[in-house]
């Protein structure tokens, strides 16, 4: 009887464990990280001291060019996303100042989702089923408030070289630019697929060769609609030009750290296959730990590259070490 109970218990354990394995065997869905089974960092592992030092050579004039949009009420946001600030300014009320020096102060409460405005997608943002970067079975590492694996706190530095690719110029030069009438400046229309050949043509325009650890910023002109907020929010959100699978594959092969663009998903929308959802996100983030940076302001750096015939810069961005977050809004500057 006792033996039967032990055998039954053993069978139950085996049964449960096999079910658990079936649900969380991420080795079939996601590749292993090249930085080892415990890696939670991803492509910022490529930003070594040597990479940062080499990138510092890009700072020649001390000129700073913003790569982020101002985040304020009315900018395009997706669906139920929101960002709202509440100002606490009680000491400004009559009699509210403190001490003989009449000190006053103000603070903000920021009620916001993290993927708003110019923002970084972290390793925990996109998965395949419950499998995330480096075969992380995410179901075991989430609670109501945050992730306990793959959070932003694991990221290393983004102090590396940035390279702008002007897709508008590429398409103009090839005589294939189809713009959108809502754009005040030339832009690629929504649904336009940027291929690896387009990216390489853009690099060739400035005689740039990508190197391991670079961050690539693609100017599509679609950000012009973001700047027109709120007038063109619906058009901005209705689709976008962006990279397709072939371009993503090529960027992965170049071992970049991040890919940014002046639109809300970096990849082309509608996607190349109507049966796939945000497949480039899976390719870059889930499979290769390469960050995506959305709503990057690219028009100024593209104009600067055009004027100076130089498309490279020092990429200056810090990401809050916010525990367990899947991403966050960021401020970015190009320093030359």
């Amino acid at each position: 009887m006792k033996l039967a109970a032990v055998v039954a218990a053993l069978l139950m354990v085996l049964g449960f464990s096999s079910v658990a394995v079936a649900q969380t065997d991420c080795s079939k869905l996601v590749p292993a990280s090249p930085w080892g089974p415990n890696d939670e960092t991803g492509a910022t592992n490529r930003v070594t001291p040597a990479v940062t030092k080499a990138a510092a050579a890009e700072i020649q004039e001390g000129k700073v060019i913003p790569l982020s949009y101002v985040l304020k009420d009315g900018v395009p946001l997706f669906g139920s996303r929101f960002t709202k600030t509440i100002l606490t300014a009680t000491t400004l009320a009559p009699g509210g100042a403190l001490g003989e020096n009449n000190l006053t102060y103000m603070e903000d409460t920021w009620l916001s989702q993290s993927h708003v405005g110019t923002h970084l997608d972290g390793m925990g943002h996109i998965g395949r089923q419950d499998c995330y970067y480096n075969r992380t079975a995410m179901g075991k590492y989430i609670n109501q408030n945050y992730m306990t694996k793959l959070g932003l706190e694991h990221l290393k530095s983004f102090a590396t070289r940035g390279v702008v690719i002007d897709a508008v110029k590429v398409f103009q030069a090839a005589g294939k630019l189809k713009t959108n009438s809502a754009c005040k400046k030339p832009c690629l229309d929504k649904g336009t697929v940027i291929t690896s050949a387009d990216l390489q043509a853009g690099l060739k325009m400035y005689n740039v060769t990508l190197r391991e650890g670079d961050i690539v910023v693609i100017h599509t002109g679609w950000g012009d609609l973001f700047e027109q907020f709120p007038a063109q929010n619906a058009v901005f959100n209705s689709g976008q030009p962006g990279i397709g699978k072939d371009a993503a594959t090529w960027l992965i092969s170049q071992k970049v750290v991040a890919v940014g663009s002046d639109n809300w998903a970096v990849e082309v929308i509608p996607g190349e296959s109507p049966k796939e959802a945000f497949i480039v996100h899976n390719m870059l983030l889930t499979d290769n730990g390469i960050h995506i940076i959305e709503n990057v302001r690219t028009d100024l750096i593209a104009a600067e590259a055009d004027k100076t015939k130089r498309a490279t810069f020092f990429f200056n961005m810090t990401v809050p070490r916010a525990y367990g977050l899947t991403g966050n809004f960021v401020g970015i500057d190009a320093i030359r």
Binding site: F78, H115, G191, N237, I269, G271, P274, E276, E294
Partner: protein
């Protein structure tokens, strides 16, 4: 000598490979059934614009330059369209027209011009055809309704209703398929036919009259399109009979399913709806289905004589699998 031959062969291969990779571009004409705004096709909620857009999007993945024509619903534009396409020396012509005489004329002219033709939803002599299957679509709806009744209303009186524009093109086959399968699942079930003649405003009075006479029955509603399915739900709601009915639509157009933010009736967060689902017709994916066939023809490969739309019942459980939403990121 052998080494020299090998070297020559290698050199030739090196010369040839870029040519193979760099396939020539083809000009493909697509003569759409109609591009009249708001006019819907095939007894579904899809418009000609959606069909055309799907070709534009699908062509991004192929070395194809598209030339669009509008056959003008009754195919009055077909003669001029085919003449123009022949003058342009297009590589392939895709004809979407319901009129057999017009299609025969187009087929003959293209044959004389040695331009291959691919037909959509209506055969053109021996040309390959891509087509929907109304009977199969109706059967999927009938199966879904019948299985629901068997599961939910065992030992209760169950009846069926076929409702919609019952004489519209293709709809009689759709209705036959639905009826056939409802009866197969629910032995002895009566199935009534309610013809709205394409007027959705008729759904409520027709259904109301029927339900008044069937106060104690559970009702399986096979709606012949999505607009009718939604109107039927609304009617059942106002009659206080939501708990007595289940509905399946046909088409799966954008009136019945949406996205992450653009919520509609068939939605993962709305699994309790009495609209069990809708049978997908994928007219908004015709380009993705048809251009691969066109490419095979252009490359000289064989294609099936008849390729059928893979109709599928789409429910709250699989709608985001079938139609991944992109109003999110």
């Amino acid at each position: 000598m052998l080494a020299a031959l090998c070297a020559v062969a290698t050199a030739l291969a090196a010369i040839e490979s870029p040519l193979v990779a760099q396939e020539r571009r083809y000009v493909v004409a697509f003569a759409n059934l109609t591009e009249e705004p708001g006019l819907t096709l095939e007894g579904t909620g899809f418009t000609g614009r959606e069909v055309r857009d799907s070709f534009v999007l699908a062509a991004r993945s192929y070395p194809i330059d598209l030339v669009f024509y509008d056959n003008g619903r009754d195919c009055a534009g077909a003669p001029a369209n085919v003449e123009d396409a022949i003058a342009r020396k297009v590589d392939l012509f895709i004809q979407y027209c319901h009129q057999a005489p017009a299609n025969a004329m187009v087929g003959e002219k293209l044959k004389a011009a040695r331009i291959p033709v691919l037909a959509v939803n209506e055969a053109i002599s021996d040309a390959p055809v891509y087509t929907l299957d109304n009977l199969a679509a109706g059967r999927l709806a009938g199966d879904a309704l019948g299985a629901f009744a068997t599961r939910t209303w065992r030992n209760q009186p169950v009846e069926g209703v076929i409702i919609g524009a019952l004489t519209a093109r293709g709809v009689p086959e759709r209705a036959r398929g639905a009826q056939e399968r409802i009866v197969r699942h629910v032995a002895g079930a009566r199935v009534a036919s309610l013809d709205t003649q394409g007027n959705v405003g008729q759904v409520s009075p027709l259904l109301g009259k029927l339900l008044a006479a069937r106060a104690s029955s559970k009702i399986l509603v096979a709606a012949m399109d999505d607009a009718t399915a939604l109107a039927a739900k609304s009617a059942l709601e106002s009659l206080g009979r939501l708990s007595d009915a289940a509905i399946v639509g046909q088409g799966l157009d954008r009136s019945i399913h949406g996205g992450m933010s653009d919520r509609k009736e068939i939605d993962p967060a709305n699994r309790g709806s009495i609209v069990l689902g809708s049978v997908a017709f994928y007219l908004d994916r015709y380009g993705y289905e048809i251009l691969p066939l066109a490419m095979r023809m252009l490359r000289g490969e064989s294609v099936p004589a008849r390729t059928v739309t893979p109709h599928r019942l789409v429910t709250a459980a699989n709608v985001f699998f079938e139609y991944p939403p992109y109003d999110m990121q």
